[in-house]
């Protein structure tokens, strides 16, 4: 290229973004947890508008294989957190 001027083909904005901090991660955890609590609360306050996790899980729990799988999941959760 004449004159020694190379065009800037890549914008500086395409470089690596700002690093994720622990505060960012915790903030997103808090937002997602708050959304879940809000949805579940709404389901209990306005049951005819939003289905609760209980009403969604009821058909699964009525079937023995799913019931066993969900209960095993509960057992694993407790063992993972409190025993191991």
């Amino acid at each position: 290229m004449e004159g020694g001027h190379l065009p800037r083909l890549v914008s500086a904005r395409l470089g690596p973004g700002a690093p994720v901090t622990r505060t960012d991660s915790l903030a997103l955890w808090a937002v997602l947890a708050a959304l879940f609590v809000a949805a579940e609360t709404l389901a209990h306050v306005r049951a005819h508008r939003v289905r609760s996790i209980g009403s969604l899980a009821a058909p699964l729990l009525a079937r023995t294989p799913w019931r066993i799988a969900i209960l095993l999941g509960w057992m694993w959760l407790g063992w993972h957190f409190f025993a191991r």
Binding site: S25, F36, A39, H44, R49, V50, S52, L71, A83
Partner: protein, 145 residues
């Protein structure tokens, strides 16, 4: 909307049996929170609810064959089957997606998973007791359905 629809959702007072059960569960969670993982006491504290719940589920399964509801089953009407399905699964999906992203990202200090958040919280016995009680409540809710 009828007058019945405007009624507060929870107007029932808990029965004495429910209060006693809650106090027993809270006391148990308080004791379990003082145990340490990877110890005999920690194993026993966790295993007792597992055995109780497994026995209840087995009794329910045997009772179903006899055509009766079985122990601990709720007899009140089933939950509403109308309304939007997506909000709760969407919120759960968001939590699961964030958990997976953090699980496969390092360092853990910058990408905390549920387990690492629990480890931080469980350093305080009171928090561990609350989490243990929530786990018991979840198991109770599952076995009641």
């Amino acid at each position: 909307m009828t007058v019945a629809d405007r009624r507060p959702v929870a107007t029932r007072r808990p029965s004495p049996a429910t209060v006693v059960l809650l106090l027993v569960a809270a006391a148990y969670a308080g004791w379990a929170a003082t145990t340490t993982p990877f110890t005999f006491e920690g194993d026993v504290a966790t295993a007792i609810p597992l055995v109780v719940l497994a026995a209840a589920v087995l009794a329910q399964w045997l009772a179903r064959d006899r055509g009766v509801p079985g122990p601990l089953r709720r007899l009140d009407p089933p939950a509403s089957t109308t309304g939007a399905v997506w909000p709760v699964p969407a919120a759960l999906g968001g939590l699961l997606g964030w958990e997976l992203y953090n699980y496969f990202s390092l360092p853990r200090a910058l990408h905390p998973t549920v387990s690492s958040l629990y480890d931080a919280a469980a350093g305080a016995t009171a928090w561990k007791a609350v989490i243990f009680l929530a786990w018991l409540a979840l198991g109770w809710a599952l076995v009641r359905r």
